[in-house]
Symmetry: C2
Subunit: 240 residues, 2 copies
């Protein structure tokens, strides 16, 4: 890759930095070269930009990781989570103040919150916040702190205290492990405090887990099964 090519690439990358897509021809005229040159630039680049059906866009955001052969597995999970979250949605009432836990399990819930119900969502997860921020009708309170990429969530010393300051109607909790005796656990210790605070504060505590978490124990225990009011899950996997 040569110098001018690199200049064009960074230029395009910046043009697309804030999102959006560019038609190949537009990208070309933007750089004052032909479409063929843009193609060649792209071919010699590191793959941060991607050309798909004549549209140029960034490859690095979550959008584009193609489902490929993961498709089946991904979908089994997504399908299960979707069904669980549908049931979670059904429990919502106008005026609710919800706590939504981190992880991917509750994403379908965050994505399909009704906008005509005057809801308030409290969360410490960046992905949940992104999803909820796209729903203009829903009030969103994000609990800030230091970011943990592993769970896409934030942690801070006074988070538990802040949570206790809310009048939470319902807490939707996720867990990476559910065990009859060991209770509920997750991978990361920084999730424990907010989870426990939400459990302590909310009127109604709903655990949403798919069947694959049943019987597992993870490093960080945050509650017992009896701290939960309702478990939204599939039937446990049958053992013949």
């Amino acid at each position: 890759m040569n110098d001018r090519s690199a200049v064009r690439l960074t230029r395009l990358q910046q043009a697309l930095a804030e999102g959006g897509s560019l038609r190949l021809a537009e990208a070309a005229s933007l750089c004052g070269v032909s479409a063929m040159t843009i193609r060649r630039d792209l071919a010699g680049a590191d793959g941060e930009l991607v050309l798909i059906g004549g549209h140029l866009m960034r490859a690095d955001d979550p959008r584009h990781v193609p489902a490929y052969d993961l498709a089946v597995q991904r979908d089994r999970h997504a399908e299960a989570k979707r069904r669980l979250c549908e049931r979670a949605l059904a429990t919502l009432e106008a005026g609710d103040t919800l706590f939504i836990d981190c992880g991917t399990t509750l994403m379908p819930l965050a994505l399909s919150l009704p906008e005509d119900m005057s809801l308030t969502v409290v969360t410490y997860a960046l992905n949940v916040a992104e999803a909820v921020s796209a729903r203009p009708g829903v009030r969103l309170w994000l609990l800030g702190g230091i970011y943990h990429g592993s769970s896409r969530s934030f942690a801070s010393d006074d988070m538990a205290e802040t949570i206790r300051g809310f009048g939470l109607n319902k807490a939707f909790l996720s867990a990476a492990g559910v065990h009859p005796r060991q209770g509920l656990s997750c991978f990361h210790f920084h999730e424990v405090a907010p989870k426990q605070a939400a459990i302590a504060t909310a009127q109604r505590r709903l655990l949403v887990v798919d069947a694959s978490k049943q019987g597992l124990v993870r490093p960080a225990r945050f509650a017992g099964l009896d701290d939960i009011d309702e478990v939204i899950t599939e039937a446990a996997p049958q053992r013949p």
Copy 2:
């Protein structure tokens, strides 16, 4: 649109809810129908899903608002901001703790932070947080609170106090208006407290504004020009 068609569409929509794209053929086999049927489903749908070059993806994604005829104007802005942020980047030093203000001006900065410099970023803007969260080498502290969609940022009562608790080396500030006598202003009052706290706390205060903001006064004044140590801007527009 018929029932089964609607079922397939919601199914696909949920499969894509967390991002990613599906090849048309994959989507088809996922639903157990032919590609043509998926096409027909899409044609009769409301346009939430979009098929582009054989890839199926959500349309509500910022990636797809095409730059179209806005391209030129968008780029003029993005181009200017990119250049300004390049100069802002040059001021960074290893170990810095940065405050990054909300708005779109500082996005190119957030997107191209070096990962090998041990940086910490403090921000109250969701879009900045998203951008920084994609850089594993950079520590991120998000100041939480109630979300304001207008500026994609958060506000809370104790935010100013929290900011004063950081050892900020540099504060990168944006403004919607810069006036010789009226000083610096922005559109939204909830931005005033964090901006002022950052100005009060940071060792070095850098204002990043493009020329289009010069001479303007916006509703919420947050500082005077002399509260800023350095202004990163283009030459003011010439009047012939």
